[in-house]
């Protein structure tokens, strides 16, 4: 099971990468308190105002191109950057491994049935 989002920001890949990887920038949009070592094997700790905390390990970090975080509890988030006319396209894929792709197909079939 996964969700996908794609959006183009009027900013350079370097600016977007900074907003995706520097803790003080991440605190502007992702979580209330962020610690992140944005290199493969690096640890991320994200805290929200409601007391929620999630930890992650950086699986991949290719500057201005691709960032992959494995959540400690479950799932993975992939952020891909592409330079396009007018800015940078950001593609987000968040996956929850508990639901297999096959089950997802069944879920779709189910929706069609219900």
């Amino acid at each position: 099971m996964q969700i996908e989002r794609e959006i183009v920001f009027p900013a350079s890949p370097a600016e977007v990468w900074e907003a995706l990887t520097e803790p003080e920038r991440l605190e502007e949009w992702f979580a209330t308190e962020v610690e992140l070592d944005a290199q493969p094997g690096g640890i991320g700790v994200f805290r929200w105002g409601d007391g929620d905390e999630r930890r992650a390990v950086v699986r991949e970090a290719e500057p201005e191109e691709r960032l992959v975080l494995d959540w400690e509890d479950e799932g993975q988030v992939v952020l891909e950057l592409d330079e396009v006319d007018g800015g940078t396209r950001v593609r987000v894929v968040e996956r929850s491994p508990e639901w297999s792709t096959a089950l997802e197909l069944h879920a779709l079939a189910w929706v069609a049935v219900a």
């Binding site: 959006i7 900013a11 907003a19 502007e28 992702f30 968040e94 929850s96 089950l103 049935v113 219900a114």
Partner: protein, 110 residues
Amino acid sequence: MGRGRVEHVFDALGDPGRRSLVEAVASRGSATATELAAGLPVTRQAVAKQLAALADAGLLRSTRAGRETRYEVTPEPLGDAVAWMVDMGATWDGRLDRLGRALAKGRAAR
């Protein structure tokens, strides 16, 4: 959603025969093994066994109707998965909206 429950649902729906039975029950609203077997080249007993397996997985709900068991579909087992998609989708919509504003602010500050 527990892993065990997901696998249970997955196993129950992994068999094409069972999937078509779920569809048959859904299209009729409710059905008994006798009613379903009437239109299929299988015995009532075989259909009853598959229906019981689907009920065990939580995909069908059963009620006794005289000497027969009547089944109807329960969409709840997959409800958790759908809820996750909706919640996570909304979360990312909010994040990307804030990211856009953070980037604009970063630009203005340069």
